[in-house]
């Protein structure tokens, strides 16, 4: 059994959370609220020291680099970081109802940036590249013999037809649905296979985490494993 105070605290918190499996209770609520506070604080601290300080504060006031590193060579000043800093301060105005409307400006900048980049990347990677990856392989040649790999080619055919069927299922207009009834139904069944695989992998993920917690309780804490 562990003699580390930290391990005992972690074990107690683990059991508090697991107590929810019996029913909701104050121990679980305590753990839940503790997690909210700790995680919010942790994220803010990491955001401050890793990004806000070196990428904004130090770039605006290079002398600030000496606070965390006395021997540091001073970087070049970048007065333009005043723009994101100003936008960031405007974002905090959300907390004051009378000036909250000004918080829309940084939000608009963030939305515009996301949209601008995302549109191009999505069209390229999730639309054109996916269509290309689906239809491009065609006949699969087994190298180095140069013969056609009929199994791989058949699988490729299933992917092409399957993707088309699923897309037909996504066509929501009633007339289109009726016209492509059989194809859309094949698409639905194929999607069910995909969701079945997703469910299986979701189980795998969650179970891995449970095993890890039990390894901690039975191994690190109790010394049984």
């Amino acid at each position: 059994m562990s003699t580390s105070f930290e391990v005992w605290i972690a074990a107690a918190l683990t059991l508090m959370v697991f107590s929810f499996l019996w029913r909701d209770n104050p121990f679980y609520k305590f753990a839940e609220h503790l997690f909210v506070g700790v995680s919010a604080g942790y994220w803010m601290v990491l955001g401050f020291w890793s990004t806000l300080w070196p990428n904004a504060v130090v770039k605006l006031v290079p002398e600030a680099a000496r606070v965390t590193e006395p021997a540091a060579a001073l970087p070049d000043r970048d007065p333009l970081v005043i723009i994101p800093l100003a936008l960031g301060l405007l974002m905090l105005l959300r907390l004051w109802p009378r000036a909250a409307w000004l918080a829309r400006w940084p939000t608009a900048f963030a939305v515009g940036t996301t949209l601008g980049y995302n549109l191009v990347r999505t069209v390229r990677s999730d639309f054109l590249a996916q269509i290309h990856a689906t239809v491009a392989p065609g006949l699969v040649i087994r190298t180095p013999a140069g013969a056609i790999d009929w199994i791989a080619t058949g699988n490729q055919g299933v992917i092409v037809a399957g993707t088309a069927c699923c897309l037909a299922y996504f066509t929501y207009t009633r007339t289109a649905r009726r016209a492509r009834g059989g194809v859309a139904r094949a698409g639905l069944l194929l999607l069910m296979v995909a969701f079945g695989a997703s469910f299986a992998y979701a189980v795998m993920s969650r179970v891995s985490l449970l095993i890890s917690r039990l390894q901690f309780l039975l191994g690190d804490w109790l010394g049984l494993a």
């Binding site: 930290e6 972690a10 959370v17 753990a31 609220h33 503790l34 997690f35 909210v36 506070g37 700790v38 995680s39 919010a40 604080g41 942790y42 994220w43 803010m44 601290v45 990491l46 401050f48 990004t51 806000l52 990428n55 606070v67 590193e69 994101p84 974002m91 905090l92 907390l95 829309r104 400006w105 939000t107 608009a108 900048f109 939305v111 515009g112 940036t113 601008g116 191009v120 999730d126 996916q130 699988n155 299933v158 092409v160 399957g162 069927c165 699923c166 897309l167 069944l189 194929l190 999607l191 069910m192 296979v193 995909a194 079945g196 695989a197 469910f199 179970v207 985490l209 890890s212 917690r213």
Partner: protein
């Protein structure tokens, strides 16, 4: 005006970045003249966005503080638990921002093994976060028992696919498959599970990705055209 300016910012920034991505430019350092402005935009807008992301963390933290402080002050239901949130939040903030416990103080790393923030991470954050998500294993097990029923052809297909992949991706699936005679090798459950992942799953996932991409295109055009209330952010 309150709505117009944010819409103009969204549209202007979005359109400029789309144009930036579409303009073919030589290597960044060799770019000069009018094209340099696109390199400037491409580099700086990303960095500015990242700085803004930290302010989103700060806003989230401040909002958390306000909500739970009000709950404590007004003695609302479960206010004592809100006090737990408040105390833990402020304590982690102080410990982290002051880099307490680390051998080099402010000059050291905030995640140094001896820093108190590391102790908070190992002793509180990690067990709480891991266990909260580990609960899902039990809920998934419960769902397997109660919700995954042979109710229709569709649900049966889903169930069979899940069954094959669940079994096929374990050593037991391989062991069971080894019991099959060579003539029935195509029925190997590990091979079948890989086939499901590599063929029907890929077809389904690609259709979903293409479908979402079409949705993203439509939504982006709508937002950039200022036809969506969200373009200016909530009131």
């Amino acid at each position: 005006m309150k709505r117009l300016i944010p819409r103009v910012i969204t549209t202007a920034v979005g359109v400029v970045l789309i144009v930036t991505a579409l303009v073919v430019r030589p290597e960044a350092e060799a770019t000069g003249g009018p094209l340099a402005v696109f390199d400037f935009i491409d580099r700086n807008f990303s960095v500015w966005f990242n700085i803004l992301a930290v302010f989103a963390f700060i806003l989230g933290g401040a909002n958390l503080l306000r909500v739970h402080l009000l709950k404590v002050v007004r003695r609302q239901t479960d206010w004592a638990f809100s006090l737990v949130t408040l105390v833990s939040f402020v304590a982690v903030l102080v410990v982290g921002l002051a880099k307490l416990g680390g051998p080099a103080g402010l000059e050291g790393s905030v995640t140094h093994p001896e820093a108190w923030l590391t102790t908070v991470f190992d002793g509180l954050y990690e067990p709480l976060m891991s266990t909260l998500f580990a609960l899902l294993a039990f809920f998934v097990a419960s769902a397997a028992y109660r919700a995954f029923r042979l109710r229709s052809v569709e649900s049966s297909v889903l169930l069979v696919a899940a069954f094959v992949v669940l079994l096929g991706r374990t050593p037991l699936g391989t062991w069971l498959s080894n019991l099959l005679p060579p003539g029935l090798a195509f029925l190997r459950i590990d091979t079948l599970s890989m086939w499901i992942l590599a063929v029907p799953n890929v077809a389904g996932q690609r259709a979903v990705l293409i479908g979402i991409a079409v949705g993203v295109i439509a939504l982006t055009v709508r937002l950039l055209a200022g036809r969506d209330q969200r373009s200016g952010g909530p009131a």
